[in-house]
């Protein structure tokens, strides 16, 4: 059954003279391709939240000392943690690819006298920053430097 959607969805900015039916969520909305991808994007929120909580565990383990750190690393080697971290990695890549494609389109056409750079340039810049940050962190955390 179709059900009522958000009461403010599609509400005009100013009340007009045209009366419209209340908005409805279509049946089986999740089967529509666009909606399915959109929901997958939203669903990445769960791995993100869990990654944040696990990073909190990492910080506390570093504060407690070598034994806590070794125990945490041993925990992380468990197949469930490994599977979760792979899922989280896929989520981050999915979010990055999708969001960095959207970001240039979401820029204001102009901001005072300034105009944003051309969209492909913003897109390339985001990827360059992403790769740069990833490379630096891999070098530092991967034991290559310092």
């Amino acid at each position: 059954m179709a059900r009522a959607s958000h009461p403010q969805a599609m509400t005009p900015h100013r009340p007009g003279s045209t009366r419209t039916a209340p908005p409805q969520v279509p049946d089986r909305f999740w089967t529509q391709r666009r909606m399915a991808i959109y929901q997958l994007f939203d669903a990445t929120g769960l791995p993100y939240m869990l990654v944040g909580l696990l990073a909190l565990r990492v910080a506390f383990a570093l504060g407690r000392g070598p034994e806590a750190w070794a125990a945490l690393m041993q925990d992380f080697a468990h197949p469930l943690y490994v599977a979760f971290h792979v899922l989280a990695l896929l989520s981050a890549l999915f979010v990055g690819v999708r969001f960095f494609r959207l970001f240039p389109k979401a820029q204001p056409a102009r901001l005072g006298p300034a105009k944003p750079p051309p969209r492909p340039l913003i897109h390339v810049g985001l990827y360059a920053a992403w790769l740069g940050v990833t490379a630096i962190l891999l070098v530092v955390l991967g034991g290559i430097w310092p």
Partner: protein
């Protein structure tokens, strides 16, 4: 509660936006090393040994990055999960769901600040 969330929206949106932009930039390398490479022994010997990991994390920039890895994904995740649950459960429960998710993110962020300050 929905009214309060609406008033806090600018702050929530800022943290969510930072989470989706900076969090996503930081995550792949962190997950590849601390999440997978270190525990599975795929990194060079001693790369994530306690002394080295502690030295990296307790550097001022390291503390900031670690806090970012804790707080930003929490806010990004909370905001998107609220949106997903709104689609599925209807918007009547939005105030309660949003408050709960943001509370988790807020408590996690405060604990994160404490954790990186006491490294």
């Amino acid at each position: 509660m929905s009214k309060l969330l609406l008033r806090l929206e600018p702050v929530i949106w800022l943290l969510f936006g930072a989470g989706i932009m900076l969090g996503t930039m930081l995550l792949p390398a962190y997950l590849l090393t601390v999440g997978l490479g270190g525990p599975l022994g795929l990194l060079p010997e001693g790369a994530l040994a306690y002394d080295r990991a502690h030295a990296i994390a307790s550097n001022p920039l390291g503390r900031l990055v670690l806090l970012g890895l804790i707080a930003l994904p929490l806010w990004k995740g909370a905001h998107l999960l609220r949106s997903l649950l709104g689609e599925w459960l209807g918007h009547g429960a939005d105030g309660a769901i949003g408050s709960l998710l943001y509370a988790v993110a807020a408590v996690g962020s405060v604990l994160g600040i404490y954790a990186v300050l006491t490294l």
